[in-house]
């Protein structure tokens, strides 16, 4: 069943050290589904599974999506496949874009800090900020030439992007990067390796709630599931039931019950396995759902349960 989006690789462009930027379109050039800056895409890697990549193109281009993939030395197979196997003209299967790193619409100024390939979501945001005539700045820290150098050069005329080659210059302070924040109307974003995210979280620890955003590359350590107990998991459509032990995987249980639920990161950061829950008391451990969204949905890969029964809509 084509419950995926069929895309053809129109161009595969080397764009910075070890980085390949893919230009993706519908095979017949139809418009693609709309997406938001900060969204990511799951690409199906044959024989391996789904791999999530931030979208780095311009949302204004209705017929084209772009992702950029850096070859990882510790690749789980996804980046090696993109670099070594995938060719222009190949067809790939992708998910709908999911935005777990949205632009803070209420902010007056936006400061983005990227580490290496973490620049990708900010490229999409830069286009949007320019359209909105927003106040924004992008700081890109890299060891040597940055990934997506060509794409960054395309935004250079804005004068709002600074690239720091940390092999040639001292790493700037967080205070300098974050424009002296917190400040009224200022929102800061960070995407990069875990050490950078840790530094960002420490530097922004005193910022007001809701004024910072983080995009993870890999799932962080899960918070403890306090109050988790064994429960009966029930599918609303089939009434199929299964017992799940404390700490057990709701996602695996749903699959065993025959539910077709997507999965990608399996660590609570990508949103692929979001399902609606109808009864019970789920314990949420994801990093992406808003409090409002949690009232109706959960991420099955990390959620636990504190009631004896949980009914989900699948």
């Amino acid at each position: 069943m084509p419950q995926h989006i069929t895309l053809v690789v129109r161009r595969a462009i080397p764009d910075g050290p070890g980085t390949r930027r893919l230009v993706l379109q519908d095979p017949d050039g139809w418009p693609l589904p709309r997406w938001k800056p900060g969204a990511h895409l799951d690409i199906h890697v044959p024989g391996i599974g789904h791999r999530a990549y931030s979208m780095c193109g311009d949302t204004a281009r209705a017929d084209t999506w772009e992702i950029a993939v850096k070859r990882e030395t510790t690749s789980r197979g996804g980046s090696a496949w993109v670099h070594d196997v995938l060719n222009e003209g190949d067809v790939v299967a992708a998910s709908m874009p999911r935005c777990t790193f949205p632009i803070a619409d209420g902010a007056a100024r936006h400061v983005m800090v990227a580490g290496g390939i973490g620049v990708t979501p900010f490229l999409a945001m830069a286009h949007e900020f320019e359209r909105r005539r927003a106040e924004w700045a992008l700081h890109v820290l890299s060891r040597g030439e940055p990934p997506c150098a060509t794409a960054l050069a395309g935004c250079a005329q804005t004068g709002r992007i600074r690239v720091y080659d940390t092999t040639k210059m001292a790493r700037p302070s967080w205070d300098a990067l974050l424009d002296g924040g917190p400040a009224p109307g200022l929102h800061s974003y960070c995407c990069g390796p875990q050490a950078m995210l840790d530094g960002f979280e420490e530097a922004t620890g005193n910022w007001p709630a809701g004024t910072t955003s983080i995009e993870h590359f890999v799932p962080p350590t899960l918070p403890a599931a306090e109050g988790a107990k064994a429960y009966t998991l029930c599918r609303s459509t089939t009434r199929g039931e299964m017992e799940v032990e404390p700490g057990g995987s709701m996602l695996a249980a749903l699959w065993e019950l025959g539910a077709k639920v997507d999965a990608s990161c399996e660590g609570g950061i990508c949103g692929a396995c979001e399902v609606r829950w109808l009864e019970g008391e789920p314990i949420h451990r994801d990093r992406v759902l808003t409090p409002e969204r949690r009232r109706t949905h959960l991420l099955a890969c990390v959620a636990q349960c504190s009631s004896e029964r949980l009914v989900v809509e699948t």
């Binding site: 069943m1 084509p2 419950q3 995926h4 989006i5 069929t6 519908d26 017949d28 139809w30 418009p31 693609l32 589904p33 709309r34 938001k36 209705a62 709908m96 609606r276 809509e313």
Partner: protein, 175 residues
């Protein structure tokens, strides 16, 4: 509302003649594959026993979200413009003709009455097989909360008995 229906609702009265209606095609949309936005058309070609040329549920070349569940009676789908207006009004959600993901948007056609009946769309003859049901898939595509609003008024699935070209503005009438 047809007068015969009003008569039928009066205690002690008998329905003397069938309700009548007459409507029109207001919008036409197709899409090539699952998830892709619906594309507006001035006309579409209905093929008897198969579907709409270029649409994802054309039998033999299916690429729709539900194509794994083949269904002969899903060759063409319809949706009432009046429902779009009601959802926009009552749920404060802008819901547009290109967003309901059915092929033909109608005006003046009581789709929920027509299951099992035959009717004309321009030069074509179709037979309604079942009511469409909404799917949360549409919320994923639109990023709009419309599923609940669509329950029990999500359109009509039909089989094409006589094919031909359907144009925006064509009449829709009982057989």
């Amino acid at each position: 509302m047809p007068e015969a229906t009003i008569e039928a609702n009066r205690p002690g009265t008998t329905l003397l003649r069938a309700p009548t209606w007459n409507g029109a095609v207001t919008h036409l949309h197709i899409t090539a594959r699952a998830f892709l936005p619906m594309r507006p058309q001035e006309s579409v070609e209905l093929v008897a026993g198969r579907g709409i040329m270029g649409d994802r549920y054309m039998i033999g070349v299916e690429q729709g979200y539900y194509s794994e569940k083949p269904e002969e009676g899903r060759q063409v789908t319809l949706f009432e413009s009046e429902v779009l207006e009601a959802i926009s009004r009552d749920y404060k959600v802008e819901f547009l003709p290109e967003e309901h993901r059915r092929n033909i948007t109608t005006r003046g056609v009581p789709l929920n009455w027509l299951v099992g009946r035959r009717f004309r769309i321009g030069p074509c003859l179709v037979e309604a097989t079942r009511l469409s049901v909404p799917c949360r898939h549409i919320e994923q595509i639109l990023d709009k909360q419309v599923f609940d609003a669509m329950v029990h008024r999500s359109g009509l699935n039909c089989r094409i008995l006589v094919g031909g070209t359907v144009r925006v503005g064509d009449e829709i009438r009982p057989e």
